[in-house]
C-alpha cells in the first residue's frame, strides 16, 4: 500500500513510537497522579516527561499541557471554555468541522454568534479580514494553522500579533501543522494551541492535547475526578488537572512523547522540507496532467502544510480515490469534514482527492501516484 492519507493519521508510526507503546503497556499501565506506590509514581513521572517535551516543543509551561482524546476534544474545550453568553467568535473560512460545528452549536444555543474571515494568499489581507470583524464583545479568534484539505497556511504569527493588539484570545487548531510547521506560543501569541498527537507528532491514535498560556482561564466542559482537590465540587483551578478529568490514555501519551523525540532527532525543519518536496512533486506531476484539476498555488515553505488536493477530469472525488485504491494507493476523498474550505475553493459538490505524504513517503511513491493518475 502507498499511504498518502497522513492527514487523517500518520502511518506507519516510527519504530521508537511503537516501542514506547509496547514498553508503556508493560511498565506504565498504571493510573498516574492517583496512587502513591512506585509504579504509579513512575508512570506519573513518565507522563510528566511528555508534557515537558510538548511544552518545550511549542513553548508552553510544562504543566499547561493537558492531554485530550483528540484535537477535536481540545478545540471543544478551548472554544466552549472561552465564551460567555453574548460572546462573539471569529473563525477562518478554512475551518474544519471541529471548529465550525462547535461555533454553530454555540450559536444554536444562543450563547455566542460567529463570523467567518476569508482566507487570502495575501497575508495582510487575511489579517485585515479578521480584524474588520472584531466587535467589542468578541471573545476569541479561532484559526487553523493550515487547511486540512488544501494545505494552505494562515499567517498565524500575524493574526496572533493583531489579536494581542486587540486583547482578544487567540486559539489555533494545529491539526495539520503541529509537529511539522513552526508554532510557538510566545512568538506567535497563541493563547491556546489544540493539536492531535497522532498526525504530524507521530503518536498513536487516541491522543491530543490542549496547551494553554499562563493566565488563560477556561471554563470546563468535561468535569470529573482528577486525583486532586477531591473535596472541591468544581474542577481544580490549576493545570493540567483542571482540563484532565478521568483516566488518561497513558499508552498513547507515552507513544506521543516518543513521537516528539523522533521529530527532534530528525529535525522538524528537515521533516517539513522533505514532506514539502513530496507535496511539490505531487503538485508538479499533476500540473503536467491536463486531466488533473488543482486548486491552490504551488506549495511553498511556510505557506503550506504538505497537503495537495486535486480532482481528475469530471470524476467525483470518491470515484478517483476508489480507482487509486484498487491500484494500492490509499487516499481520502470527499469533504474531509471541512465544508467551509470547500465552499471557499468551489469544491463543495464533488469534494477533492487529498494527498498527504509523511516523512516516510518516498519519491518513488509520489511518482507512482502521478503515473497512475496519468493512466486513469
Amino acid at each position: 500500500m502507498i499511504y498518502l492519507d497522513n492527514g487523517a493519521t500518520s502511518f506507519p508510526k516510527p519504530a521508537n513510537t511503537l516501542n514506547a507503546a509496547a514498553d508503556a503497556m508493560r511498565n506504565y499501565g498504571f493510573n498516574s497522579g492517583r496512587g502513591g506506590y512506585t509504579a504509579s509514581v513512575k508512570t506519573a513521572e513518565k507522563i510528566y516527561s511528555v508534557r515537558e517535551k510538548l511544552g518545550d516543543f511549542f513553548n508552553y509551561p510544562t504543566q499547561n499541557i493537558a492531554f485530550t482524546a483528540n484535537c477535536t476534544a481540545a478545540l471543544n474545550m478551548a472554544i466552549k471554555g472561552s465564551v460567555k453568553k453574548g460572546g462573539h467568535i471569529i473563525i477562518s473560512s478554512l475551518e474544519h468541522n471541529a471548529v465550525w460545528r462547535v461555533v454553530n452549536h454555540l450559536k444554536k444555543d444562543g450563547i455566542a454568534d460567529f463570523d467567518i474571515a476569508g482566507f487570502s494568499y495575501d497575508d495582510d489581507e487575511t489579517v485585515g479580514n479578521f480584524e474588520r470583524l472584531i466587535k467589542s464583545r468578541t471573545s476569541a479568534i479561532v484559526c487553523t494553522a493550515a487547511s486540512n484539505v488544501f494545505g494552505v497556511a494562515l499567517p498565524i504569527g500575524k493574526i496572533g500579533e493583531m489579536a494581542k493588539r486587540h486583547g482578544i484570545r487567540f486559539i489555533v487548531d494545529g491539526a495539520q501543522a503541529a509537529g511539522v510547521m513552526p508554532l510557538d506560543a510566545e512568538r506567535d501569541n497563541i493563547d491556546i494551541l489544540c493539536a492531535p498527537g497522532h498526525k504530524c507528532l507521530y503518536g498513536l491514535m487516541g491522543t491530543g492535547f490542549i496547551a494553554v498560556r499562563d493566565g488563560v482561564h477556561l471554563e470546563t466542559i468535561l468535569d470529573g475526578g482528577t486525583g486532586s482537590d477531591s473535596l472541591n465540587p468544581d474542577q481544580p483551578d490549576f493545570l493540567p488537572d483542571r482540563l484532565e478529568a478521568g483516566t488518561l490514555n497513558n499508552i498513547g501519551i507515552i507513544s506521543l512523547g516518543a513521537g516528539v523525540d523522533f521529530i527532534n532527532s530528525f529535525g522538524m525543519d528537515n521533516i517539513y522540507s522533505r514532506e514539502l518536496e513530496h507535496a511539490q512533486r505531487l503538485y508538479d506531476g499533476l500540473s503536467a496532467n491536463k486531466n488533473a484539476v488543482l486548486y491552490t498555488k504551488r506549495p511553498e515553505k511556510y505557506k503550506n502544510a504538505p497537503i495537495v488536493s486535486f480532482n481528475f477530469g469530471d470524476y467525483p472525488s470518491e470515484k478517483t480515490a476508489a480507482v487509486l485504491g484498487r491500484r494500492g494507493i490509499a487516499v481520502r476523498a470527499g469533504l474531509h469534514c471541512a465544508p467551509l474550505a470547500h465552499s471557499y475553493f468551489g469544491t463543495v459538490e464533488r469534494g477533492t482527492v487529498r494527498l498527504c505524504p509523511s516523512v516516510f513517503t518516498t519519491r518513488q511513491e509520489c511518482e507512482f501516484l502521478i503515473n497512475t493518475v496519468k493512466k486513469l
Copy 2:
C-alpha cells in the same frame, strides 16, 4: 509487585488484549469511516466488531455504542446531554466526582439542580430514597452500579424499574461494575450506560464508551468531524456518529474488543465469583485484625463489586498505603475522587485504603496483604 489497584485500572492486561493492541498498531492504525481504501474499510469493520461485542454484552444495539476517552467523558456526555434549563437530577450518595462535579457544574451554571438519594443496605429503602426525590421536572436519575470506594452495589434493576414507571431517564455509571457484574439495558432499564474500557473490561487505558438505548436523544457536548453528513453544521442525528467527534483511539478500542473476548471465554460470572472470593478473603482476614477498620458488611455476590476499603489503627490512609507500598503492595489511599461516598461512610477526614483484586490476583497475594497488615 502485588497489584491491588485494579479499581484505578486493571493490570496486567490479558495476553490477548496486548496482542490485539500490537496487531492493531500494525494493521488497524487507519482512520475508520473516513477513507474508502481497503485498510480504512478493514479498520472500520474491526471497530464495528468491537461495538458489536459490547452491544451484545450489555444488550444495546450495535450502532448505539459510541466510544469515548474514558468513563468520565461518557458521563459528561450522558448527563449534560440529558438536561435542559430548569431540569433536575437525582444522584446517589455514593457517586464519584465524574458525576458529582458534573451535576455541580450544571447547578453552578443555573441549568439544573440536583438531589442526593441515600444508599441503604435495604434495596427497597434505596429505591424509595430515589423515588421520594422525584419532581415533575426531574430529567434523569444518575447512579453508580457500585461504589468505587466501598464496593457496595446499588439495586440497578430496581431503580431502573422505578425510573421507567415514572418515565425518567436512567443513567448508570458502570465504572466498577461493567465487565464483572451483570448489567443489561433491557432487563435493568438502563437508558444510558457509561463505562471505562480499561478496568473490568480489560482494554487499554484511554478507552470508554457510552451505550444508549434506541430513542434516547442526547444533546452533544463534543462537536466536530464525524466523516459523515459533513455539510450539516450540527452533529449528525444518528448513532454512533452523533457522539463520536474526531479520531478514535483505534488501538485501545481494538484491545477492548479483545478484553470482552477474554471475559466471554472465561465467563463473566466465573470472574466475578473469583474476584469476590478474593474480596471476601481480604475482608475476613482484615476483620480478624483488631487494628483494621472496615466500613461495610462482608462483600456478597450481586451486593458488592470486588472492592474492600479499610484503615489501619489511627493511621491516615496515605500512611498505610505508603507502608504497604514499601512492602511491594500497590494500593490506593485517600478519597478516590469520591468525597460523597466518604461523607456517607464517615471517612472524609482520612480517606480509606482501597483493595481491588482482579481475575489475575492470587490467593497468596491476598494472604500476603493480610499478613503484612498484621505486622504493621
